[in-house]
């Protein structure tokens, strides 16, 4: 039998039972669509997190006080086990490292801001002028904190876009005096709205010079030091240099944790990549179910078409021809289902993107290919057994069936 004839024969056989064909294609389509949509969600989450992380700056090395793991015996450990504070002097010392381009100390606490009888709880960040560069923030109005001595600061504040909206409404906040905690500050800048951010939402921040913030919280310690390496290649050496400087300043004890943005990104990437895979695996189960359905339907089809198979044999069809005809039908139904599923899945992902524009729900190429391949293989694999059964039918008995 010529392949063109085989294909049209299988097509006619499938078209001969429209309901059966439609249901089967639908089952396969749902399986493929599930893979496409779920991997789009999983991969979208991965991209979303990566984007958010990248947006906090580039070539970042982050210094946290305290150490989550010990590195063997250290003389410093014998004296004290409580970590030393991370201070502004530490931050300033980091600037001496050759691979460090910029550094910004960060002291964080909560306080209240009041203006014109309105009171609001806010997160207060004490930092320096470098913060705006390191974090790649942009300003809507005014300017950021002035550069200068880190140990001294003017009573100036920069507020987030949401604070501006809630405290001042349409009124211009620039130049206004507000009370934060028990001090008065003049607002010199308003940050541009950045939308929902990861960890810290810059829209709801009040940024003060670091010494004033520390005084307000009555503490000398820093929450973080954000360090920007001089280049992407310098990140590793910056990390080593930063660790070394802190260790020397802390009497030989490395009591801080130094992480690089790349490491965090890689961790999240791995984590969310695994999650996407897991989700794809779950979706693939529905493909296996669809495959079993293919088998079931093809078996029923063989039973229904027993007389026809007997006839084909009487007319000179070899066992291979009959097997191929049924396999072609199973493959065709699977391909049709996979294509419909692909369309449905992409439509679903598009709807998700429409509903949540911030969420990049694009199905990854590997998942689409794997979904299609799985659909086709399960369809054909589960089609083999019914096809063999059809090929093995005894023509005399098959013909006797009506």
């Amino acid at each position: 039998m010529r392949s063109a004839d085989l294909i049209s024969f299988a097509r006619d056989a499938a078209a001969g039972h429209p309901l059966r064909t439609v249901l089967l294609v639908l089952a396969m389509a749902i399986g493929v669509a599930a893979v496409v949509v779920l991997t789009a969600l999983g991969d979208g989450a991965r991209r979303y997190v990566l984007n958010e992380f990248s947006s906090i700056g580039s070539n970042l090395v982050i210094v946290l006080p305290g150490r989550s793991q010990t590195g063997g015996f250290n003389p410093g450990n014998a004296v004290t086990s409580t970590p030393r504070d991370l201070t502004i002097d530490d931050a300033q010392a980091l600037l001496r490292a050759s691979s460090v381009y910029r550094a910004a100390p960060l002291a964080v606490g909560t306080s209240e801001i009041s203006y014109g009888g309105k009171l609001r709880e806010v997160t207060v960040v004490g930092t320096t002028a470098e913060f705006v560069e390191v974090r790649r923030l942009s300003l809507a109005h005014g300017r950021f904190l002035v550069t200068g001595d880190w140990r001294r600061g003017a009573s100036e504040a920069v507020i987030g876009a949401r604070i501006q909206d809630e405290m001042f409404g349409r009124q211009n906040a620039l130049g206004q005096l507000v009370r934060v905690g028990d001090r008065r500050f003049r607002i010199v800048g308003v940050l541009a709205a950045s939308g929902q951010g990861l960890g810290m939402n810059t829209d709801e921040l009040v940024i003060l010079p670091v010494p004033l913030a520390q005084a307000m919280f009555n503490s000398n310690t820093l929450f973080r030091i954000l360090v920007e390496a001089s280049s992407r290649e310098a990140i590793d050496s910056a990390k080593a240099q930063v660790s070394e400087i802190i260790r020397l300043r802390h009497e030989g004890e490395l009591d801080v944790t130094v992480i690089t943005q790349d490491a965090v990104l890689a961790t999240f990437d791995r984590l969310l990549g695994t999650m996407t895979l897991a989700v794809a695996g779950i979706a693939a189960i529905s493909l296996a179910v669809a495959g079993i359905l293919v088998m079931n339907v093809m078996l029923v089809s063989v039973t229904q078409r027993t007389a026809e198979i007997g006839l084909l044999k009487a007319l000179g069809a070899s066992a291979a021809t009959i097997r191929n005809a049924f396999l072609a039908e199973a493959a065709m139904l699977s391909i049709a289902g996979a294509l419909v599923g692909l369309l449905l899945g992409h439509a679903g992902a598009a709807i998700i993107r429409q509903l949540y524009p911030a969420y990049p729900a694009f199905p990854p190429a590997w998942a689409v290919i794997a979904g299609l391949a799985t659909a086709l293989t399960t369809g054909v694999l589960f089609g083999v057994q019914p096809a063999r059964r059809a090929a093995r039918l005894d023509p005399v008995q098959a013909l006797a069936r009506r």
Partner: protein, 240 residues
């Protein structure tokens, strides 16, 4: 007798039904020459359908040899038998056995499609078959849109499209009224007149009597082998 188209020697076919064995054919010897018109009659269970299935290579004997055109076909593989069916044997069934989703023309084309004949060559032969059997304006009708007589004409057209040497007809008029049955038998007889060997299995004594050679089967044995005009004792009757 010249070497026949069909030569059966010592053919046995036994079916096992539970514990009991049913001898559908018992040591059957039969020769049919090319171009003969043979009817096979007998009561139900006499083995005539089994004989037809064996002749059509749909079934294998448990013992004995079957030579088709001088070639021993009992030992052929299933695929070789399928090829012989395709090239040499045409079937006509009582219940027509048309594929319901295919049009008349597609049903007629089916043996050629299975044999892998190119579409261009098929079209020509289908057109002439439709013309020969008066089905030109029924070509695009599906079987459920055809009358019984038209369906059987489609089935005969299908059986002859590969120009087989033998046509095996199993109760070809069983599902037809007398007039259409007559018409169909005349078609088959015309084919026989053109040299095709025609073997008809039937219950209908009237139909059976039209054949030049009439076989009567009973209990898996040939009881009579009668030629029109003169009754000759069956040369192939094998007493047990």
């Amino acid at each position: 007798m010249t070497s026949g188209l069909i030569e059966l020697a010592g053919i046995e076919r036994v079916f096992r039904l539970g514990d009991s064995e049913v001898h559908a054919l018992r040591r059957l010897d039969l020769q049919i020459a090319s171009g003969e018109y043979v009817s096979v009659m007998g009561p139900s269970g006499s083995g005539k359908s089994t004989l037809l299935n064996l002749l059509g290579l749909l079934d294998r004997p448990d013992a004995g040899t079957y030579r088709l055109a001088g070639r021993d076909v009992t030992t052929l593989s299933a695929d070789e038998q399928a090829r012989l069916r395709s090239e040499r044997i045409g079937f006509v069934f009582q219940s027509f056995h048309l594929v319901p989703r295919l049009t008349a023309a597609e049903n007629i084309a089916l043996p050629m499609v299975l044999a892998g004949i190119a579409p261009s060559r098929r079209a020509e032969r289908i057109a002439s078959a439709l013309r020969d059997y008066g089905l030109e304006n029924r070509a695009d009708h599906r079987p459920d849109q055809l009358s019984g007589g038209q369906r059987q004409r489609v089935a005969i057209a299908r059986a002859t499209i590969m120009q087989p040497a033998v046509i095996l007809a199993d109760e070809p008029t069983g599902n037809l009224d007398r007039a259409t049955g007559e018409e169909v038998v005349r078609l088959l007889e015309t084919l026989n007149e053109r040299g095709v060997t025609l073997i008809v299995v039937t219950h209908d004594a009237g139909l059976g009597a039209r054949a030049q050679r009439q076989l009567l089967m009973e209990d898996g044995l040939l009881q009579h082998d009668r030629r029109r005009g003169s009754e000759t004792p069956g040369p192939c009757v094998a007493p047990t």
